[in-house]
């Protein structure tokens, strides 16, 4: 069936028959599309029209979206939304803003009681749950169409205490280690560090002998917060347990803080205290970092702007710490979560669009230069299959399988707040400099690791108590 026929069908009110026809057509389109060629690293994903299950013709859809780190994605997204709007008689508008400004925009719109119909951020914002619609119906529909959502995605957007999906997580970006092979070859680790011990020893040696520092931030920005959390997990530490009780003040956290302080002294410079979210990317692209924790966006930039450095950048899965392989985890570097404010008059339209987005996730993955990974893995089979995009990078990596280490990303990427769910307290903590400051105070010698962790615990306890009183998180079990 041709695309225009699919579109015509999509604009009609849905019946069971049209739905089945739509699903069959979508399957056929997928089978015959160039995606199969893309699997070999040469093709492009084709648009799959989804027939709306609600009558949304004549409505509007205003989307507020964080500016994607891969500019190509936003160009595609805007066109994708516009085409869907045209096909379904929906007037659409997409606004992109800096990701750091999204919480502020949400606060303003919730305060005003009006604004965009749908807001997407790159992290879990459970603290806004009371003003957001429960999206259980959309998630269940997506599960029905595409199989189960990744557990990590669910735990980033589902509140077990209220039994509600405060957001719709459609994908994530893995957060591997990015290392410069030429530097690590000299210290006998051509495949990069595999453990936190090797990271420290190799990083210190590289800095001492080759004058290149490591880049794990300790500043008030999102990458620093993720790095701190990753280190804590590797040492067996966590902010909360599975039942949402605060566990941050533990020997494991203290060990992690002591480690980061030592790592700073031996392998980094005070630069890491003054970083913003782009700083570690810039350092890597400028050829001045031996190792950073980041998505592949920094590498993509280097590929285009500093080809020689780009060729030298390789990736590692999360490295193993004292907690063993079970603690070798990483946040989604970005976790794409859409929320629909209760004040939106076009909630049904937004829900239909989300289902359409998930059905076309192959496009999102491809147009983000393999940055976006799907929360419903069946929607992008060409990503991880043998000979797929991670084995043969469609964007010209040398060697072509440079991204193959990300094939296991679904296993080692976990949610904010692991081993508990991503709750309102974690959402607030992750918007504050609490974790990086905990590391930095010890690294700067302002406090001992014990003192710094104790201060962090006090701050975390207050935040948890507040949200527990709001009835948004569990605990006490």
């Amino acid at each position: 069936m041709r695309e225009d026929e699919l579109r015509r069908m999509a604009t009609r009110p849905a019946t069971r028959r049209t739905l089945l026809k739509g699903a069959g057509a979508a399957g056929l389109a997928a089978a015959l599309s160039p995606i199969s060629r893309a699997a070999a690293g040469t093709g492009t994903a084709t648009l799959v029209q989804t027939a709306p299950t609600r009558n949304i013709s004549g409505t509007r859809l205003n989307i507020l979206l964080w500016s994607h780190f891969v500019p190509r994605h936003d160009v595609w997204y805007d066109q994708f939304v516009a085409e869907w709007g045209q096909a379904n008689g929906v007037e659409t508008k997409v606004d992109h803003i800096n990701t750091a400004d999204v919480p502020t925009a949400i606060a303003a719109e919730l305060g005003a009681g009006e604004g965009h119909d749908m807001i997407e951020h790159l992290a879990s914002l459970a603290q806004y749950e009371k003003s957001m619609l429960d999206l259980t119906d959309v998630v269940e529909e997506a599960n029905r169409r595409h199989g189960p959502q990744l557990e990590m995605a669910k735990r980033n957007s589902f509140n077990p205490t209220t039994n509600a999906y405060f957001g719709f997580c459609h994908g994530f970006a893995p957060d591997p280690g990015n290392y410069r092979r030429s530097l690590w070859e000299v210290v006998g680790m051509p495949n990069g560090p595999t453990s936190w011990d090797e990271l420290r020893a190799g990083g210190a040696q590289i800095k001492a002998e080759q004058g290149v520092q490591m880049g794990l931030g300790m500043s008030n920005e999102v990458d620093s917060r993720m790095a701190a959390q990753t280190a804590m997990w590797a040492f067996g530490a966590a902010i909360q347990d599975a039942n949402e009780n605060v566990t941050i003040n533990s020997p494991e956290t203290i060990a992690a803080v002591e480690y980061m302080a030592a790592l700073f002294k031996e392998a980094m410079t005070p630069e890491v205290f003054g970083w913003n979210a782009a700083s570690n990317n810039q350092l890597l692209v400028a050829g001045r970092a031996s190792y950073i924790l980041n998505s592949i966006s920094a590498y993509r930039t280097a590929q285009k702007d500093q080809a020689e450095t780009g060729e030298d950048i390789y990736f590692t899965a999360p490295i193993v710490g004292p907690a063993g392989p079970s603690g070798a985890l990483a946040h989604g570097h970005a976790v794409f979560i859409d929320m629909i404010p209760q004040h939106s008059p076009n909630a049904d339209t937004a829900k239909e669009f989300l289902l359409h987005l998930v059905a076309n996730y192959a496009q999102a993955t491809e147009q983000s230069e393999v940055y976006n990974f799907p929360a419903w893995p069946t929607t992008v089979p060409m990503l991880q299959q043998e000979g797929g995009w991670l084995d043969v990078d469609p964007y010209g990596s040398v060697p072509p399988d440079k991204l193959a280490v990300l094939k296991t990303a679904n296993e080692w990427t976990t949610n904010l707040g692991h081993p508990g769910p991503a709750n309102a307290a974690l959402g607030e903590i992750f918007n504050l400099p609490l974790l990086p400051n905990m590391m930095a105070r010890a690294a700067q010698g302002q406090q001992t690791a014990q003192e710094s962790v104790a201060q962090a615990e006090q701050e975390v306890n207050e935040i948890f108590a507040k949200w527990r009183a709001e009835g948004l998180i569990g605990g006490g079990q």
């Binding site: 305060g111 005070p270 350092l283």
Partner: protein
């Protein structure tokens, strides 16, 4: 007949309006009304709302106001970052305004003299004040960048920064002289000073930008004050043989004191409530909250963190100082009126 019947009511209406408008008790409040509405809508209402938020459990996600007493204030005072922010706010304000007063006096004296290019210099001095603060701070962000700072580049080229041995050592006639003077690598052997990454330097940078930002206003105010000093007083001092410093300390400064107080109070208002500089320059009050101030912490806690109540409580701590400054300014204004 019909014409006169139409004219009479119109004339009566005009007379009635004139009657009301001629009454001071009516016209005065009428003219003040827009200001009162403006103040109530844009100052009074937000202030009342902030007070209500500060004693409630309001969050961004749930803005209903459930009374929690002073819980938010207790939480704020118990928070280490709040105490740092309070200390920084006071320190940045007082230190920067003392420096501004000193420099503004000097600048005002210079600019009150006659010299070629005075207008250009006055324009350049005013420039930081006319530049939007966010734009100006962005300029400083690049100037003090941890990696690409042009100041660092100049220091490296002069041999004041960077290694004095090895392949990265810079050699040129200027650096040779600097090293001969024993000042080689005086700013460190690294490639950058890291202005915004080290707590003390970051605090210094914030102070510097505050001074840069508020100096023009203070200078203009003092310049106006200087020109207002009666010429006959200056002439009398000259005839009596008073030198520059005698005139400065016995005539100019005493006569300028009231106007200096105005400039000082304005500077305090602008600096005490500013959050743009630490927010942009040091990436939200970093490193490790060393440049955090009350305004930025209230925003981070209340808006970015989502705890409206706690954020409002932090912001309320600005109020007593601002109220005190406002009272002082009103008193000064009343004194000026009386005199």
């Amino acid at each position: 007949m019909s014409t006169s019947a139409q004219v009479v009511p119109v004339a009566a209406g005009v007379d009635r309006r004139r009657y009301w408008l001629d009454r001071e008790g009516v016209l005065g409040p009428l003219l003040l009304l827009p200001t009162v509405v403006y103040i109530i809508a844009l100052v009074g209402f937000p202030l009342v709302l902030a007070v209500l938020y500060s004693v409630s459990d309001a969050t961004v996600g749930d803005q209903s106001l459930d009374f929690v007493g002073l819980r938010n204030f207790r939480a704020a005072i118990g928070d280490g970052t709040f105490r740092v922010a309070l200390r920084n706010t006071v320190a940045f304000t007082l230190v920067s305004q003392l420096i501004v007063m000193l420099l503004a006096n000097l600048l005002a004296l210079v600019l009150s003299a006659d010299f070629h290019g005075k207008r250009l210099v006055r324009f350049l001095v005013m420039l930081p004040w006319t530049t939007p603060v966010a734009l100006g701070v962005l300029g400083w962000l690049w100037t003090l960048d941890n990696v690409y700072s042009p100041i660092d580049y100049a220091f490296r080229q002069m041999g004041l920064l960077g290694p004095s041995i090895g392949p990265l050592r810079v050699d040129n006639p200027v650096s040779d002289v600097v090293r001969w003077l024993g000042l080689g690598s005086v700013f460190g052997t690294g490639s950058n000073v890291l202005w915004l990454a080290q707590p003390a330097l970051a605090q210094l940078s914030v102070l510097l930008v505050h001074v840069w930002r508020t100096l023009p206003l203070a200078t203009v105010i003092l310049l106006a004050g200087l020109t207002a000093i009666p010429q006959d007083v200056k002439d009398a001092a000259n005839v009596d043989g008073a030198g520059f410093f005698r005139q400065l300390f016995y005539i100019r400064i005493p006569l300028l004191l009231p106007i200096m107080a105005v400039a000082f109070l304005y500077g305090i208002v602008f600096t005490f409530t500013d959050m743009t500089i630490p927010f942009i320059l040091t990436n939200r009050g970093g490193p490790v909250d060393s440049t955090q101030v009350l305004a930025s912490w209230a925003f981070i806690k209340g808006i970015e963190g989502g705890s409206l109540g706690e954020g409002a409580a932090v912001a309320i701590f600005l109020f007593p100082v601002m109220a005190g400054v406002a009272a002082l300014m009103l008193r000064l204004a009343r004194r000026t009126e009386t005199s």
